[in-house]
Amino acid sequence: MALEIRDLHVAVDGKEILKGVSLNVERGSTHALMGPNGSGKSTLSYTLMGHPKYLITQGDALIDGVSLLEMTPDQRARAGLFLAMQYPVAISGVSLYSFLHAATSAVRGFGDRSARPARGRFNAHLMPMREFRKEVNGKLDLLEMDPVFLRRYLNEGFSGGEKKRAEILQMALLKPKFSVLDETDSGLDIDALRIVSKGINALQDELNMGLLVITHYQRILNYIHPDVVHIFVDGRVVKTGDAKLAEILEEQGYEWVRQELALGD
């Protein structure tokens, strides 16, 4: 039961960005992936989720032994993968509530529209409203979010912190087996970081989630404690260790890693 990444090579516009990434994130475990800007961290997260811009030239990515590569992004989500995005997209006119209702229903297998009876009621295929509403309210409490949020259009006019909370709210409802958190700590003040991290930890306990925390800074790792830390430079994992590695990195900076590597060569 793992998210496995095997020797993944990815190119964007003909340029190789990931140069052979291998990771094995077991369910229930937390891996941190730390690297400087431009090292390809976001490329890895988008590639795992199936963004069409990224071309896999070699390698594989599997969820519980099943390859993700032939799956569309929605199939990957339904297979249990979640990506908390660094820059969530705003969609005007679509309320957070109706979006969450549609997405939760899709992921939980409430059937799609194509299977709906010809003259069935609109949304008849979705999760029952009352049940869903109750569950959402519980998750809003967990993330200390005001229910008025639900009436706002998806990410439109949300502050940085609100967007990140909304991402974790989605995670809470979609109940993934594995989550990739792409710079979830960026744009969060210390209070928001604490609330978001508390939410993530609670969800990991609840769902026995495997977590891949992608971050530039060590800060979030004070709240979400990693079992394994990988240092990621220039499209590769260059060093793997335990939580102490993150602390050394925080003290010494990425320059230290580069020097270590140069010495190692």
């Binding site: 569309t72 006119g93 529209r113």
Partner: protein, 457 residues
Amino acid sequence: MAERYNTTSMPSISTTTVEALSLPVGAEAAGAIADLHDEPDWMREARLDAWATYAAMEFPRKDEEAWRRTELSRYPLDDMRVVFSGTELNGIENLPPCWNYTLAPANLVSGVLVHCNGARTHATMRPEIADQGVVFADLHRALRTHGDLIRRYWMKGTTTRPDFNKFTALNAALWHGGTFIHVPAGVNIARPFQSLISYDADGGTGLHHTLVVAEAGSRVTLIQDRVSQDLRSAVNAEIVEIYAEAGARVRYISLQHWGHHRYSVSVQEAQVAQNANMVWVTGSMGGGMTKEFLRTNLNATQARSTMAGFSFPYDHQHVDQSTYQHHKAPNTYSDLLFRNVLRDRAQTVFYGMIRIETEAGGGTEGYQENNNLLLDDARARAIPGLEIIANDVRCGHGATVSRIDPEELFYLQARGLPRPDAESLIVQGFIRPIIERVPLAHMRDRLEEEIAERFWR
């Protein structure tokens, strides 16, 4: 005085007659309709005058601005017929079941009026609303009881007049089936009236005429929908006239679900008096080709109008909307927001005009926005226009044509929504600002469902 037609030589219509008869458009048909409904002389004359106008006019030419982008030669103009349905009052239950969805539950509306093939098939109104002197009736019957009132308002608009074009002349001569609302001064009708115009396979040419008169300080909403089951191509030449007298508030929700064989020209105009407020919502989902002239005249100070519209053509559907916001007095306000979504090889044309007359200077504001969202090989054209002859006014207009943002699509798919559901959600979000203005959750849900269905065809 026009010659009276001998009713015995003409289709004799009674509630027991079942066979449908049809006549080609012409003076004979005009007289037959007048006879059938025992219309007052002024209407009979108006019909025959209009027929003379029709006969003297040419069909619009392609080099006229309003017809430059809509191919009138595709309209089946050679085979226009007036159909006399033998049956009347045969009940809402006799409508094809697929049409019933257009009607909201009876407890949510003030009254329902259904026409099929130009004949009234169903009419209800809450007694407490009738008690306030409100008339919600088919126009033929209303002519007998409120003939003088109707005559005062009859076809005196800028576009809703017999000689505006050949189609308004045709309607003036041969209108057949009509919706009439009269709300006395100060009467406030909270729940909407609902009108359904329908044509079945024997339907013939659509010649419906709608007249709404909201007296001073009154308040009324009309939801009007249109459906047809045409086996062969048919023309629709329709007129809607709305009068919002001083301080009145009128909402007109105009929906269109014509079958794909129906080729329509619909001329709709509202006259807005001092301190009155006119709210339009227009939605075009059906029709082979649809040409709409939608006009608001702001005739006195503090008159306000909001025009909102959406269309979602697919396949080879064509929707052409000419809108006109005409400011004739100072301190008048109008805004317009039309949004179109196009699939397959569909086409839309939006030609919007704001005109502010010299005497309308001083505090007047007019705005207009047209946004188009394209999928597949569809094509949208937007031609906004401003004619401002006054000083001290505020105006703005804009038009956009865009496609679905792949990042939005990815975001929704990454949350487990299959691509058609993701597209549907984005499109619903795009049209939301219009749908929000439709009264009754039932109607909004129906429209959203219809939009979603187009992604699972």
